[in-house]
Structure formats: structure tokens, C-alpha cells
């Protein structure tokens, strides 16, 4: 019983940390540019597929990541530049942005289907083996995933609080007009915010791929999950997204243990609806 419980907690922490990375990307883009990105899940799959392509050439994770991370960043900024920036001049741009990113998602997913076929691809694990301490067996993969996700979160925190680019992002999030007055190029901020979010969700895709595989439509699940987490934490709130990711990751682990993994989304929605009734702005969010 205690062993099972410990397994559940470890699994919750591990998936919670990965979810936090992905929810942060969504919260960043929504908080800074008010864009709801429907292609988010497709970028998750993109990370997985790129990793699969590179690792197919026997070059190992470090070299593959060195190529994939800048690639994802570039694809993200280019996407923002060509599919979202032209919309901003229009009156109902928020809706157009949703349509545009949804179109992009369907484009990307069907492209995966056409290029990679309908069958799921599997990635090798980051680290093999398991750690056995005091009767608890924890796989190295889980430990590595959690450690990498945690360091990404900490790294992002440093970036947002200690660097000029990060501070510029926060300034734009707080007051768009004010930040323009002090000379921040908000179009550039939007672009690299989108790029960073793409890297975050792509990294999530790579971290989860050995466990859940990569499939053409696998991103939709992640899109909905990332959204539930950001909404639970409060749309646009970074810290809220991290808290929510760990809470819901833990819930998922317990639900998977007691009821089965397929119930996760349903239970999450129930929790979210309760949250909407009690506190519609989410854990740490505000309306507007």
C-alpha cells in the first residue's frame, strides 16, 4: 500500500513537472500576446517527430537536442511572424488568431499523417535502468524527465526575472502601451515569446515521447491538458500554471491508479468546472 502510494506520488511529480513545462508555454503566449494557440499540441508532436528523425541517425540525445531546440525556436518565431502578426491590425483578431492556429494545427497534423504514417513512433529512453532505494524502484527515465523539466522551469524563471529579454516580456504582459512608450518592440517580444513557447512544448514532447509515443493526433490531448492546467492556474499566470500542473499531475496519477488513465480528462474537467464555480479566475489569475 505505501509502496503503491509512493509510486503514485513519484509518477504524479514526474508528469506534473512535464505538464508544468508545457502549461508554462501556453500561459506565456496567452499572458503576453493574448493569443490562444490551437496549434500548441501540434508543436508537441513536432518536438517528438523531430527527435525521432534525428535519433534515427544514431547521433544520441545531446547532439539531437542541439539541433532541435534552435529549430523549434525558429519555427515558432516564423509561425508567429507569418500567421499571427498580420492579423493584429484587424478588429476581431483574437478570433482570427484562433481560426488561424486551428487551421495550422490541422495542417500540421495531417502533414504528420501523410509523411510519417498513422502508426505511433517510439523514442529510446533518455537513461536506462532504475534506482532501487529502500525497496522503491524508480526508473531512471522518470528521474531524468523530472530533473530536466524542473531545470527548464528554473531556467525560465531566471530568464523572465534576470534578463533584459525576459523583463521585456513581463513588461509587455503587464502593460502593452506602457512598454511601447519605454521603447520595447512588442512585435519582437510576441515573436520570441511564441518561439520560447514552441521550444517548451516541443521539449515536453521529447520528454514524454519514450513513455507515450509520438502519433499524428497525439497533440490534441496535450492541447486540452495544457489548457485545463492554465485555466485552473489562471489564464496567463506563470506561477499558477506551475501549481496547477503539479496538483493536476498528482490527480492524474491517483486517477490512473484507482480508475484508469482514460478517466483523467473527465475528472480534470470536473475539477476545472468546480474551480470555475468557486473561483472563475483560476488559482492565481485575474480577469481581463
Amino acid at each position: 500500500m505505501t509502496h503503491e502510494l509512493a509510486d503514485v506520488v513519484i509518477s504524479g511529480l514526474s508528469s506534473g513537472s512535464t505538464y508544468a513545462v508545457m502549461a508554462l508555454g501556453m500561459a506565456l503566449v496567452y499572458g503576453i500576446s493574448r493569443v490562444f494557440n490551437f496549434a500548441y499540441g501540434s508543436f508537441y508532436s513536432l518536438g517528438g517527430y523531430l527527435a525521432w528523425l534525428f535519433l534515427g541517425h544514431q547521433i544520441g540525445y545531446p547532439a539531437a537536442l542541439a539541433c532541435i531546440i534552435p529549430g523549434l525556436f525558429f519555427i515558432g518565431t516564423a509561425t508567429e511572424r507569418f500567421t499571427l502578426r498580420p492579423l493584429r491590425v484587424r478588429k476581431n483578431w483574437e478570433m482570427l488568431a484562433m481560426m488561424s492556429t486551428l487551421g495550422l494545427a490541422l495542417f500540421m497534423d495531417n502533414l504528420y499523417l501523410a509523411v510519417f504514417g498513422p502508426f505511433a513512433k517510439s523514442l529510446p529512453v533518455l537513461f536506462e535502468g532504475a534506482v532501487n532505494t529502500a525497496g522503491f524502484v524508480v526508473s531512471m527515465q522518470d528521474i531524468a524527465t523530472t530533473a530536466i523539466a524542473m531545470s527548464i522551469i528554473v531556467g525560465l524563471w531566471f530568464f523572465l526575472n534576470r534578463t533584459r529579454h525576459g523583463l521585456a516580456m513581463r513588461a509587455v504582459a503587464q502593460d502593452m502601451t506602457g512598454s511601447e512608450i519605454v521603447g520595447i518592440d512588442k512585435d519582437r517580444v510576441f515573436s520570441y515569446t511564441f518561439g520560447i513557447a514552441t521550444v517548451l512544448v516541443g521539449a515536453g514532447g521529447i520528454l514524454l515521447a519514450p513513455k507515450y509515443f509520438v502519433s499524428p493526433l497525439g497533440g490534441w490531448d496535450i492541447l486540452v491538458k495544457a489548457w485545463v492546467i492554465t485555466a485552473f492556474g489562471g489564464m496567463g499566470s506563470m506561477l499558477g500554471a506551475v501549481y496547477a500542473a503539479f496538483i493536476l499531475g498528482m490527480v492524474e496519477a491517483f486517477v490512473a491508479w484507482q480508475l484508469g488513465l482514460t478517466w483523467t480528462l473527465l475528472i480534470w474537467f470536473v475539477i476545472l468546472i468546480v474551480m470555475f464555480i468557486v473561483r472563475p479566475q483560476g488559482l492565481r489569475g485575474s480577469w481581463g
Binding site: 496567452y30 490562444f36 490551437f38 507569418f82 500567421t83 498580420p86 492579423l87 484587424r90 476581431n92 483574437e94 478570433m95 482570427l96 484562433m98 481560426m99 488561424s100 486551428l102 487551421g103 495550422l104 494545427a105 490541422l106 495542417f107 500540421m108 497534423d109 495531417n110 502533414l111 499523417l113 501523410a114 493526433l217 490534441w220 486540452v224 489548457w227 485545463v228 485555466a231 489564464m235 482514460t262 480528462l265 473527465l266 474537467f269 468546472i273 470555475f276 472563475p280 480577469w287
Partner: protein
């Protein structure tokens, strides 16, 4: 000549339905084309009601394919398990869908853009596992297999057959005509005006005592009703039903129809349905790349020409090209009037 005082929107609406109404006479019951025309009529209903919710009422809903499927399953199950005539189960299916639509809309309408989009999208996502689950099986969804022998429509002694497409077409035609007419009336009623008011300045509209919640709730119900009816008809028309309808295929097609036709431009979704359905048939040769092309079209049209075909026809609300047509029509009918400015 009151009929000539039509607005551009009405003109397109009547021309399209006029042409579709007589088209079967020239086609000699060509099975393939008649089936495409029937599907265009159904798609027009779904796309137009979706556009009514999204383009006019400003509700970011992505649950309309789910409404379509709910209507189809509800009607199919009622007809199969209780043996009720499809003529009754189609409107009942619509009513059940409307009920579920209103239930979903109650939490949605208190929330904002992206929240509504994902709650309705969640309905879409949850529907497939539900229909396949034991719970779904218990109400007769047939699980993963789906419904295999949905009874066709019949009048008196005549049973509609898949080999004779013309009667099917005219039922779909009637449904589409009624649904689009209702949409047209809603857009041009005080409801339509209240959407514009809320869209332009929500605080001001509300300060005037405008209760957009109630209106949006009604629109949600009406749109779900017609979408459910279209789905119900589809079930009886095709005869089999599975959760495959919930795939990205139909979802994407309907989105392209709205975007190509022009979002929030009334008969746009109808024109989009015609163009996209034929394009879809034409692109069958492209195989797996067909949907890739459609996805790219959505992005391109949204970015480059968000008003779609209707924007091109109406030329930014001035309607110059159609005015020329109307002048021609007036001359042809021998009544030259000087109502140049009556177009919207």
C-alpha cells in the same frame, strides 16, 4: 416590384436556392452528383449555424461537429430501438441536441473566448470515448462498431432508397432552406443588432439594458437544433453511423467552408459549402495531402483575406459588382427604379 429590393445577401441566398431547386431536373438523377448536392445542403446547414454562433454571436464554439453527431446518434437510436418513424426522430434528434447545446452553453456563456472554445471542443473530444464506452453501449450507440442499419425515410408506401437520390435531395433542400432562412431572420432581427452592439461596445450595450446572455442562449439552442437535425438526416441518408464522423475530416471541411465563404457574412457559409464540397471531391486524387491542403487554405485565407468570398463579392460592403447585376435585373424585368442606396 418588391422582390427587386432584395439586399445582396438575400439575392445570393435566393439565387443559390433557386438554382439548386431546379438543378436535379437537368441531372437525370445522376447518383454521384446528386449525393454531392445533398451533402452540400447538409453542410450548408451546419456551416451556416456554426457561423451564426461564431461570426455573428461571437461565441467561439468548436462543438458543432459534436452537435451533428449527437443529432445523428439520437435519431438513429430512437428509430432503431423504438421503431419511431424517422420523420419524427429527426426533429426529436434536433431537440435533444438543442437540449444538450443549451446545457453546455450555460457554463460557456459566462466565460470568455478561449474558455468557450475549449469547453465546446472538450464536448467533441469526450463524445467519441463516450459513444464507444459501456455507458454509450447501454443507450444503444453500438460501441466501436456504431449504428449499422438506420432505417431510411419513407412516405406512405414509398421507402427512400440510396439508388434514388432525388427525394433525399429535396428533403435536405427543404431542411437547408428553412434553417438558412431562420438564420437570415435572426441576423436581421433585433437579436442580430444586439450582437453587433455587444461586439462593438459590450459595456455600452449592457448599460442600455441589453441582455445578450439570453439571446446567445437562444442562438445556441437554435443552432444546435438545426445542426442536430442535419446530423439526424445524415444518419438516415447514409444508413450507417460510427464515431469516424468525429474525426478531423468533417471538422476541417466545415471550418474551411466558413473561412472561404467569409466568417460573419451571411450566405458566405452556403457559398463556402458549395465550393469546398466540390473542391473536396476534386482533391480526392491528392490522397492524404487533401487535408494538408485544406489546413493550409484555412491559414492562408484567414491571414490574407479574412472576409472570404463574400468579402470579395461585396467589396467591403459597397456591393458594386452585385449592383451591376441588379441594374441588369431591373432592366430585364422592365422596371427601372432609382434605389441605388438600398443595399446593405
Amino acid at each position: 416590384m418588391k422582390a427587386l429590393k432584395l439586399s445582396n445577401e438575400q439575392l445570393i441566398f435566393y439565387i443559390v436556392f433557386g438554382v439548386f431547386g431546379i438543378l436535379p431536373i437537368f441531372l437525370n438523377g445522376n447518383l454521384a452528383i446528386m449525393n454531392i448536392l445533398t451533402m452540400i445542403m447538409l453542410y450548408a446547414v451546419v456551416a451556416t449555424n456554426w457561423d451564426l454562433m461564431m461570426g455573428y454571436a461571437g461565441i467561439f464554439t468548436f462543438g458543432n461537429v459534436a452537435f451533428f453527431v449527437i443529432g445523428a446518434y439520437a435519431s438513429g437510436i430512437l428509430a432503431m430501438s423504438l421503431g419511431i418513424s424517422p420523420w419524427l426522430t429527426i426533429p426529436i434528434g434536433g431537440a435533444i441536441t438543442a437540449g444538450i447545446g443549451v446545457l453546455i452553453s450555460l457554463p460557456c456563456l459566462r466565460l470568455k473566448g478561449a474558455y468557450v472554445a475549449l469547453i465546446t471542443f472538450a464536448l467533441h473530444m469526450i463524445l467519441e470515448p463516450f459513444l464507444k464506452s459501456d455507458m454509450g453501449r447501454a443507450i444503444g450507440t453500438g460501441g466501436a462498431q456504431g449504428l449499422l442499419s438506420i432505417p431510411p425515410l419513407s412516405i406512405g408506401g414509398y421507402t427512400f432508397s440510396s439508388l434514388q437520390p432525388v427525394p433525399w435531395f429535396y428533403v435536405a433542400f427543404g431542411l437547408s432552406l428553412v434553417s438558412l432562412y431562420v438564420t437570415h431572420r435572426i441576423i436581421n432581427s433585433s437579436w442580430g443588432l444586439s450582437f453587433v452592439a455587444v461586439r462593438d461596445s459590450e459595456p455600452f450595450a449592457k448599460s442600455l439594458g441589453l441582455d445578450d446572455f439570453r439571446v446567445k442562449l437562444m442562438v445556441f439552442g437554435i443552432a444546435a437544433f438545426f445542426t442536430g437535425m442535419a446530423g439526424a438526416f445524415y444518419g438516415h441518408f447514409v444508413g450507417i453511423l460510427s464515431t469516424r464522423v468525429l474525426g478531423l475530416d468533417l471538422f476541417l471541411l466545415l471550418m474551411v467552408m466558413q473561412v472561404v465563404g467569409g466568417m460573419g457574412k451571411f450566405p458566405g457559409a452556403l457559398l463556402g459549402a458549395i465550393i469546398v464540397t466540390f473542391a473536396n471531391e476534386g482533391l480526392r486524387a491528392a490522397g492524404v495531402y487533401r487535408l494538408v491542403i485544406f489546413g493550409a487554405i484555412v491559414v492562408a485565407v484567414v491571414v490574407l483575406a479574412p472576409d472570404g468570398i463574400m468579402g470579395a463579392i461585396l467589396g467591403g460592403g459597397k456591393g458594386r459588382r452585385l449592383d451591376r447585376f441588379r441594374r441588369f435585373a431591373r432592366r430585364a424585368f422592365g422596371k427601372e427604379t432609382s434605389e441605388a442606396g438600398d443595399s446593405v
